[in-house]
Symmetry: C2
DNA sequence: GCGTTACGAGTCTGACCCGTATCGTATTGC
DNA sequence: GCAATACGATACGGGTCAGACTCGTAACGC
């Protein structure tokens, strides 16, 4: 069920075809319920069916269970990647850091934190999470490498650690509200500048 | 039930006194089950009672429900604070960063991530979380202020942002396994040094 | 010994949910 | 029209759990 695209060029099976509207409605209902504050495990097939205006059987006909459905639904959620302009390394980093936890779909913001907890329980969801963030990591890695090549950044920095340095503060603030007094708006710029300059007196 | 200490100097009520061993057993069972991988909401009073070798009524006699019990149990969990030596600002920061997510109670490590998700759902648990981390933030703030006073750190840095800078990378790695390729052992030192020196070429 | 309260263990009702099955109906190819 | 498959709705048996309750027993002050 993971790749429903394969049905497109199938030899056409007899009988009434599956409703695409039902597909959409089920996925949307799942994401809506999650965004409204339901936990992943508090989410029930029955609630999804009711919300989607769909019979339970219609869901079970498409997915093996809640996990499979969730995986598909969350896959649908990941928004577009922020595209660094490529002029200034600093500005590109500010853009990427600011994009952490932000997506085109406003529901993503609410859903991400509850994904965070699932990461430690299920290998599938850990993989899903890694699939979402690894292209974003790659983007940042390229900007940092470019900075090194251009001589803007030191050549001896550990790129992977630097990425964690840039991402961590933003992520704990967005996901955990780590420090309620911190200005989330200004944080990307401040983080990037602090990491660039360091804090040691000189 | 939050402050059971108040019973100590009460005018002594008649009848059999409540068993302190039962108190302990219930709390311990709760923490054990959480550490074994149970989610907060998958945790049931029945399971706790069974694990503690206690009747369900014994639990309900003490706490209003699962939330109240959880709050008490998690309160019990927070370990001792790491104590910076006060010699070198860098070493103190490495110590504090390394202590993130580490506690005397080995169960804490398993339980913390699942607390993370709860933070966004319940105000109580958000408060609890803040109560746990704010003394640790204070500790780090003092070290940073000392560094500024001693002239080791620049005077114009934003202390709150700097704390997020130091804490974030370690936290996302420990709680979310943000980057599986990152060496968690070496991370505290690397983070502190990178934040101290900055990454800009000069 | 007596009243009081707590204890572990268990029972009971009412939720909620899963996953399957079965309705009558709708939509497709042949 | 007919077989095949889909649809929404609903019912089912089986499961877990919350809370309140009931046992017979145990521990306290008086």
């Amino acid at each position: 069920m993971s790749d429903m695209m394969s049905t497109a060029d199938a030899p056409r099976s007899p009988g009434r075809p599956r409703s695409i509207r039902a597909d959409e409605a089920i996925i949307e209902a799942t994401l809506d319920l999650l965004a409204e504050g339901s936990t992943i495990e508090a989410l029930s097939i029955e609630a999804i069916a009711a919300r989607a205006g769909v019979g339970k059987a219609t869901i079970y006909r498409r997915w093996a269970g809640k996990d499979a459905l969730l995986l598909d639904a969350l896959r649908r959620l990941k928004g577009v990647l922020a595209q660094p302009a490529g002029h200034s390394v600093r500005d590109d980093l500010v853009l990427l850091v600011g994009a952490i936890g932000k997506n085109v779909d406003p529901r993503a913001e609410k859903i991400m934190p509850c994904l965070a907890s699932a990461v430690n329980r299920s290998t599938d969801q850990f993989q899903l999470y890694q699939n979402i963030i690894s292209p974003r990591r790659k983007l940042m890695r390229e900007v940092l490498r470019r900075g090194i090549d251009e001589g803007v950044l030191r050549a001896d920095i550990d790129v992977e650690v630097t990425m964690a340095l840039l991402t961590g503060p933003m992520l704990i603030q967005r996901v955990l509200q780590w420090n309620p007094d911190l200005d989330e708006q200004a944080l990307p710029e401040r983080v990037v500048d602090a990491v660039l300059e360091g804090i040691r007196a000189r």
